[in-house]
C-alpha cells in the first residue's frame, strides 16, 4: 500500500482573538494548541479513523490537511507533493481530488442553493462541463451514486425540503461529483438518526470498494470506528496517542486512554465496567497543556515520571504505535 496522504508533525495553533481591553494593556494572547504534532499516513483506498473526545483536535486536523485551516507547522504530502507549498493552480486541482463531508447536513448546505446548484457548483468552478446536458448528466450520476434515486425530481428542490439522511446524501453527492480520490469525513453520521446511519456508512464503504476512494474518517464513536475503518488513530489533546489496525487497537489497546475508551464501548454480555477504567474529569484546556504526558492528570496508572517526561511515540509492535511510559517492548 503506497501512501496517498502523508502527514508529518502537523501543528495548528490558534491565537485566541484579543479583546479590546486585553490588547490595550498589551497582555499576551493565549495560544490554543488544537493540533500539536500529528503524524500518520493514509494509503490508497484505505479508511483511517481519527477518534477522540471532542476538543482533541481531530476536526482541525482534517481541515488542516485540506488547507481549509492553515497549518502552523509540519508537512502534509498529497501523492508525494507538499500541500502547503501548492500555488493557486495546484491548489485548484488538489481541491478537485480532495473533498470534505461535514457532520451536520443542516449546516453544511447553503440554504439558498437548489440541489442541482449544490452538486453542479464544483463542475462550474473548475469549468469541467461544456454543455448543460453534460452537466445535468454528471449531477444526476453523482446523486445516484450517493443513493438518491430519481435525481431529476430533486434538481429544483432546496435542502430544507429534504430529510436529514437525504441531506447528508446530497452533501456526499456534492463531494462525489468531481470523482475525488480522498475524502475527509467529519463525523458524517453523528447528527443522523440511527436508522439512517447504516445506510450512509455502507454507501461510503461501497464507494471505497468501487472507486478506491481513501477516507479520513473522523469520529468520537469507537464502535463506529471499529466497524468501518482499516486502521484507527486515537487522538488526545492535539496528539495521537495510539495508532494501529482497527482490530488490535480495539481488542488489544496499549495506551491507558484507549483502554478507557474501549472499556465503555457498549457490548452485549459485558458484565461490569471496571471502576478504574472510567475516565474522570474532562479534557484539559488546550491553552494550558499539562507538562509531561498530556494524559497524566486523568490517567489511572500514572507514575511520577509521567508528570515530567513526554512519552515518545514509538512503534511498539509492527504497525502498532503508542506513546506511553508504561508500555514495555
Amino acid at each position: 500500500m503506497t501512501a496517498l496522504v502523508d502527514v508529518d508533525q502537523l501543528e495548528v495553533h490558534f491565537t485566541a482573538r484579543a479583546g479590546l481591553l486585553r490588547s490595550m494593556f498589551g497582555r499576551e494572547t493565549p495560544v490554543v494548541r488544537a493540533v500539536d504534532g500529528v503524524s500518520f499516513t493514509l494509503g490508497k483506498g484505505e479508511i483511517l479513523c481519527l477518534a477522540g473526545e471532542s476538543g482533541s483536535g481531530k476536526t482541525t486536523t482534517g481541515k488542516a490537511i485540506l488547507r481549509l485551516v492553515e497549518p502552523t507547522a509540519g508537512k502534509v504530502y498529497y501523492a508525494g507533493e507538499d500541500v502547503r507549498a501548492y500555488n493557486r493552480s495546484k491548489l485548484r486541482s488538489f481541491r478537485q481530488e480532495a473533498q470534505i463531508i461535514f457532520q451536520d447536513p443542516y449546516e453544511s448546505l447553503n440554504p439558498r442553493q437548489t440541489v442541482f446548484n449544490i452538486v453542479a457548483e464544483p463542475l462550474e468552478v473548475n469549468n469541467l462541463c461544456h454543455s448543460l446536458a453534460e452537466k445535468e448528466e454528471r449531477v444526476a450520476r453523482a446523486l445516484i451514486d450517493a443513493g438518491l434515486h430519481n435525481p431529476q425530481e430533486l434538481f429544483l428542490r432546496y435542502p430544507h425540503e429534504l430529510s436529514g439522511g437525504q441531506r447528508q446524501r446530497l452533501a456526499i453527492a456534492g463531494s462525489l461529483v468531481l470523482d475525488p480520490k480522498f475524502i475527509v469525513a467529519d463525523e458524517p453520521v453523528s447528527m443522523l438518526d440511527l436508522s439512517i446511519r447504516a445506510g450512509i456508512l455502507k454507501l461510503m464503504v461501497d464507494l471505497r470498494d468501487q472507486k478506491g476512494i481513501s477516507y479520513l474518517f473522523i469520529t468520537h464513536d469507537l464502535s463506529l470506528a471499529w466497524l468501518v475503518s482499516d486502521r484507527i488513530a486515537i487522538m488526545y489533546l492535539g496528539k495521537i496517542v495510539e495508532l494501529g489496525s482497527a482490530d488490535t487497537v480495539i481488542k488489544d489497546p496499549l495506551h491507558p486512554y484507549t483502554r478507557a475508551l474501549v472499556s465503555v464501548i457498549p457490548a452485549p454480555r459485558r458484565k461490569v465496567i471496571t471502576r478504574q477504567s472510567l475516565l474522570k474529569g474532562e479534557t484539559p484546556d488546550p491553552v494550558n497543556v499539562p507538562p509531561g504526558c498530556r494524559f497524566h492528570p486523568r490517567c489511572p496508572v500514572a507514575l511520577p515520571r509521567c508528570r515530567e517526561e513526554v512519552p515518545p511515540y514509538r512503534e511498539v509492535r509492527p504497525g502498532h504505535f503508542a506513546a506511553c511510559h508504561l508500555i514495555n517492548g
Binding site: 482573538r17 481541515k63 485540506l66 481549509l68 485548484r92 481541491r95 478537485q96 480532495a98 473533498q99 470534505i100 461535514f102 457532520q103 451536520d104 449546516e107 453544511s108 448546505l109 447553503n110 440554504p111 439558498r112 457548483e121 464544483p122 468552478v125 473548475n126 432546496y158 430544507h160 425540503e161 452533501a171 456534492g174 463531494s175
Partner: protein, 323 residues
C-alpha cells in the same frame, strides 16, 4: 392556493395593526394635557361664550367616543379632517410637505444603505484588521450620536464658522432664478448639510448589521464546503456569503423605508427643512389633533406597508420561508 392564502392572511393582519394604531393615536393625543381651543385663539381675555362657540365649531364639546365615531366615518370617506392650525384639509397639508421630506430622507437613506452595505462587507472581509477596528468604532460612535447634536455641530462648523453652506431652509427666501440649473444648484447647497447629517445618523446601524450578519454567515459550515469545492475569494463572497447575509438587511431596510415618510423630526427642525418631520413638531406644539392623527396614520400605513412588502420579498429571497 398557498400564496393567495398567505397574502390574504398578511393583509388581514396589516389592516388590523393599522386599526389598533388608529385607536391609540386618537385617544393618545386627546389625553395629552393642553386645550387646542386656547392655543388657537391666543387671546386670554376671550369671553366664555366665544370660547364655547369655537369649541362647538370644532366638535370638541362632544364626548371622545362620539368624536372617534365621526373620525372613523370621515376616514372611510377618505377625509382626514381639517387642520386646526392651517385651516385646510389635513391631506393637502401633508401632501405639500411630503416632497421635501422624501427628497431629504430618501436621499440620505439610499446613500446610507449603499455605503453601509459596502463598508460592512469590507470590514467583515478584513475582520480584525486596523481598518475593521477603526470602522467599527466609528460606526458605533455614529450610531449612538443624537441627531440634533450632529445637526447643530454641522450648522456651527459649515454654516456659521466656515460659511460654506446655507444656514437653514430649502432655498434662499425671495430669490428667483434665471434657469432651472441655478435653482437646482441652490437646492443642492441647501440639501447638503441635512442630508449628510441624516446619512451619518443612519449609516452606523447599516454597517454594524451588515458586518455582523456577514461574519455570522462566513463562519457557517457551508462556506467551508464551498471553499472545499474550490470556490474562492470573490465568488465565495458573492455567491455564498452575500445572498445569505442580505436577509437581515432586507428586514432592516424595509423597516427604515417606512420611516422615511415620517421624516427626521430633529434633523428637519435643526435645519428648518419644510418637511413632514417639522410639520409634526408644529402640529404637536399647536395641539392640532386632526393634523397629528393624519401624519401618524400616514406614517403607520407606510411602515406597516413596507413590512408587508418585506414579508412578500422574504418569501422570494429565502426558500425556507415557503414551507
Amino acid at each position: 392556493m398557498k400564496m393567495r392564502g398567505f397574502i390574504l392572511n398578511k393583509l388581514g393582519q396589516t389592516v388590523l395593526i393599522i386599526f389598533v394604531v388608529l385607536v391609540i393615536n386618537f385617544f393618545l393625543f386627546r389625553i395629552m394635557p393642553g386645550n387646542p381651543v386656547r392655543i388657537l385663539i391666543r387671546n386670554p381675555k376671550i369671553s366664555a361664550e366665544a370660547l364655547q362657540r369655537v369649541t362647538e365649531q370644532f366638535g370638541l364639546d362632544q364626548s371622545k367616543f362620539v368624536q372617534f365615531g365621526y373620525y372613523l366615518r370621515d376616514l372611510c370617506l377618505g377625509d382626514l379632517g381639517h387642520s386646526f392650525v392651517y385651516r385646510r384639509p389635513v391631506l393637502d397639508v401633508i401632501m405639500e410637505k411630503l416632497p421635501p421630506t422624501l427628497l431629504l430622507t430618501g436621499t440620505a437613506t439610499v446613500l446610507s444603505i449603499i455605503l453601509g452595505i459596502l463598508l460592512g462587507v469590507i470590514f467583515a472581509w478584513k475582520r480584525g484588521s486596523k481598518l475593521d477596528v477603526a470602522g467599527l468604532s466609528l460606526s458605533l460612535v455614529l450610531y449612538s450620536m443624537p441627531s440634533f447634536w450632529v445637526g447643530i455641530l454641522m450648522v456651527m462648523l459649515f454654516a456659521v464658522y466656515w460659511k460654506i453652506f446655507p444656514l437653514f431652509g430649502m432655498s434662499v427666501p425671495g430669490t428667483s432664478f434665471a434657469s432651472i440649473w441655478g435653482r437646482l444648484a441652490d437646492l443642492l447647497k441647501h440639501m447638503f448639510l441635512p442630508t449628510v447629517t441624516f446619512t451619518l445618523i443612519l449609516i452606523g446601524e447599516y454597517v454594524l448589521i451588515m458586518r455582523n450578519s456577514l461574519l455570522e454567515v462566513m463562519s457557517e459550515d457551508y462556506m467551508l464546503t464551498a471553499k472545499a469545492k474550490g470556490v474562492s475569494g470573490r465568488n465565495l463572497l458573492r455567491r455564498h456569503a452575500l445572498p445569505n447575509a442580505m436577509l437581515p438587511m432586507v428586514t432592516l431596510i424595509a423597516m427604515n423605508l417606512g420611516f422615511i415618510v415620517g421624516g427626521a423630526i430633529q434633523v428637519e427642525t435643526v435645519f428648518s427643512w419644510p418637511g413632514l418631520g417639522r410639520l409634526m413638531y408644529t402640529a404637536l406644539m399647536g395641539r392640532d389633533y386632526p393634523l397629528l392623527q393624519g401624519i401618524f396614520l400616514f406614517v403607520t400605513v407606510c411602515v406597516v406597508g413596507a413590512n408587508f412588502c418585506a414579508d412578500l420579498l422574504y418569501r422570494y429571497l429565502d426558500p425556507r420561508v415557503k414551507t
